[in-house]
């Protein structure tokens, strides 16, 4: 069966995606890019170029290079007067006042131009997939009227495609986040692209999307932000050097590239350097442009552009008769939504709601379209949708830390096991405390259950081997089993619902972990330092015991002092880590001395290797008494 693709046919760029093994994948075009410029050029030799290649010859051939066909599709000549002023190619009135592009005397409908873009996307997709592509879902803005939708569908037909469906861009974006699975939600989609800005409010329920309102600005986008930086750079330069770089096409191009790069960098850092050596020259010699741009300055330069986004959001809410409080989800679309100030505005306008932005905003619409295509061709149903564990799973180990056996986002079904040991001599039982969460300490995580494995044969600490296995089946049911390797004794617990947490709970727990990461790591290190010091004390004590009278008095006394002091610190839950580490290190040296000086022929090896090295980890201490462990009945 041929694959069906999802196509985001954009004003400036287009993206195509496909479902592969149940996952949407963006297809890389023949030039190696994920975005394809929605540009078609007709050369003087009669050649037709689409995408990047068409863009490269645009300045040589402006009147025969069509961009932004989307602004004209399905519209009448008298409706597009404002758009005509912005384009270098010839737009004329065709049959029934429809828009036509006049290319060297030949008339093309906008849908024919869009068809050429679609054809390239689909051809590249076929090459990438190694199979024919015939079916597609194509997206359009929510405000497109019937004529514009029909014309877009026609573009697909002209391109030889079977257009499965035309869907709204905001709907596609919501699909990419799986919001169609919610029972009843109000979603605001904020789409700030390269050259257009759209706000849509959707009502989602049981897989049905209803557009409640749309608003926007057809001429506002990332390019405007770039231009502000270009103007600022050029004006600063003109003030210092008296030369307007914008008059020099080469300099302007370098400026524009540098401005876009700076804008992108300022989404992740608060200051960036713009360096354009030898940008121009005059009688006095070459000139360089070298300056720093802070995020604060960038925000000042673009504050009014960001503010222009506010009006349409208010408008869309008012038209839908809603307030920010009524919104359940916010979805960000378009590369410019990566700008921190834009995100801050969205948060401010939507009552502080955390927006969905984990899917690449340049690709989220095409991904949603691909998902829709997969649903329509039945592919999505056929594929087993593999679930993942939303949070990490593990057990509590010595010192109250959580030892993870299954990391979050692991695809299920899955089975993981590890070997643990005892923390005390002659410990005959271990408590297995099953935990879920991202924090380092057990007490900060969610308890899923407890059970106790008894009947472990008495042995020095660290010697018994207890296999703990976590098994999550395809239905998300977790079974935890602990088994003593020596006696074969086994105990287990089955927990359902470990994967059925609300998204809000999961997000909160993950955010918590991030927020406390530093402090948690420090606490965990403390616990580990205490565990290590305690183990060291234990080993040396055994060493002394086995050496008996062969250990010199002086060394024995020193070692015993150190051991006592370490035990005291460990018992007091001391946080003086420097002291503890110092004592451990002193004790270690002493022990090495004892072993090396020939007293310890028989003893050192066995005691030294107990437990600490290899795959073993110390398990829950015996003195952790919990009344509520739940062995499997």
């Amino acid at each position: 069966m041929a694959k069906a693709v999802g196509i985001d046919l954009g004003t400036t760029n287009s993206v195509v995606a496909v479902m592969e093994g149940g996952n949407p994948t963006v297809i890389i075009n023949s030039e190696g890019n994920r975005l394809t410029p929605s540009v078609v050029g007709f050369t003087k030799t009669g050649e037709r170029l689409v995408g990047q290649l068409a863009r490269r010859q645009a300045v040589l051939n402006p009147e025969n290079t069509i961009s932004s066909a989307k602004r004209f599709i399905g519209r009448r000549y008298d409706e597009v007067q404002n758009e005509i002023k912005n384009v270098p190619f010839k737009v004329v009135s065709g049959p029934e006042k429809a828009v036509r592009f006049d290319i060297q005397g030949k008339l093309y409908a906008p849908e024919e131009i869009s068809a050429m873009v679609l054809r390239k996307l689909v051809d590249d997709a076929a090459k990438y997939l190694g199979e024919k592509v015939t079916d597609a879902v194509i997206t359009v803005p929510a405000y497109f009227n019937d004529a514009q939708r029909t014309a877009t569908r026609d573009a697909g037909k002209i391109a030889g495609l079977n257009v499965l469906r035309i869907i709204n861009e905001p709907t596609a974006a919501a699909l990419a986040y799986g919001l169609d699975k919610k029972t009843s939600e109000t979603v605001l989609v904020f789409d700030l692209g390269g050259g257009t800005f759209d706000v849509s409010i959707l009502e989602v329920g049981e897989g049905v999307f209803e557009v409640k309102s749309t608003a926007g600005d057809t001429h506002l986008g990332g390019d405007d932000f770039d231009k502000r930086v270009v103007d600022w750079l050029a004006e600063e330069f003109q003030r210092d050097q008296g030369i307007d770089l914008r008059r020099d096409r080469q300099a302007l191009q370098r400026l524009t590239e540098a401005a876009e790069k700076a804008k992108i960098e300022l989404s992740s850092v608060v200051e960036t350097t713009i360096s354009l050596p030898f940008i121009t020259a005059d009688a006095t010699g070459p000139k360089h442009l070298e300056t720093r741009l802070t995020r604060a300055k960038f925000e000042q330069l673009t504050a009014d552009l960001v503010e222009r986004c506010a009006g349409p959001v208010q408008q869309a809410l008012a038209d839908a008769k809603l307030t920010a409080r009524d919104l359940d989800e916010v979805v960000l679309v378009g590369g410019s939504t990566r700008i921190p100030a834009v995100q801050a505005l969205v948060r401010r306008m939507t009552g502080g709601k955390e927006p969905n932005q984990s899917v690449n905003p340049d690709e989220v619409v095409a991904i949603g379209a691909a998902i829709q295509a997969g649903v329509l061709t039945g592919e999505v149903q056929d594929v087993v949708l593999l679930d993942v564990t939303p949070l990490s799973l593990g057990i509590e180990t010595l010192g109250g830390v959580m030892t993870k056996l299954i990391e979050r986002n692991t695809t299920i079904p899955v089975r993981r096991s590890e070997t643990f040991s005892t923390a005390e001599d002659n410990q005959t039982a271990v408590d297995v405390h099953v935990l879920q969460g991202e924090r380092e300490l057990a007490r900060d995580n969610r308890t899923l259950g407890h059970f106790r494995l008894e009947g472990i044969a008495p042995a020095p600490r660290g010697l018994p081997q207890i296999d703990v296995a976590f098994d999550i089946d395809a239905n998300g049911i977790l079974t935890v089993t602990a088994r003593d390797k020596t006696t074969g004794k086994e105990q287990s617990i089955t927990i359902t619902g470990s994967t059925q947490l609300s998204k809000a709970d999961i997000d909160r727990m993950v955010a918590d972990a991030q927020q406390h990461a530093t402090e948690d790591r420090r606490q965990r290190e403390e616990v580990e330092a205490r565990n290590n010091a305690d183990a060291m004390a234990y080993q040396v004590e055994r060493q002394l015991h086995e050496l008996g009278d062969r250990a010199p008095m002086h060394e024995r006394a020193r070692a015993e002092n150190l051991i006592n002091e370490i035990r005291q610190l460990v018992q007091d839950q001391s946080t003086d880590m420097a002291r503890l580490r110092q004592l451990s290190s002193d004790l270690q040296q002493l022990a090495a001395g004892l072993a090396a000086s020939g007293y310890a022929q028989a003893a050192a090896g066995g005691a030294g290797s107990a437990g600490r090295n290899g795959p073993q980890r110390d398990s829950a201490a015996d003195d952790v008494i919990d009344a509520e462990f739940k062995p499997r009945s």
Binding site: Q57, V59, R249, Q250, A281, D382
Partner: protein, 162 residues
Amino acid sequence: MTPAEQRSDENSSAAPAEIERLKQELSRAHDMRLRALADFDNYRKRVQREQDSAAQAGKRQLVLALLDVMDDFERALAYATTAPESILTGARAIHQRLTDLLQAQGVVPYTSAGQPFDVTLHDAVDAIKTDRAPSGVVLDELRHGYRWGDEVLRPARVRVAQ
């Protein structure tokens, strides 16, 4: 016949619909498994195909960034005519080392000036009305184009006669 056997006979005769349903389910499950295997196989093949280019893709970002610096260096050399000869010779030697280093990686510049404009090799920045060259011929390069093996790594940025 033991009671147990009897019961099992009764069951099988009583549920032909159940058998039919299970058969359908099995064939569906079988089909799904084959599809998943096929999907994975196709994926594996493509990953294999892309493995070589993936290794290059890793280098690409670095090389492209390096070419930007190379451009600046060449701009500097172009202006350096008034510098003392000794400095100039040294600077040219550094430039040569950088060129050789790129060449060792298979990154080679190509000449565009005087050639007919070609979208696969050139990115037009400006069209110049002139008699110096026939229309459609590259007048000069504002930035060199580079090949990487068979591929055009970076098109030349050019001005074209019109």
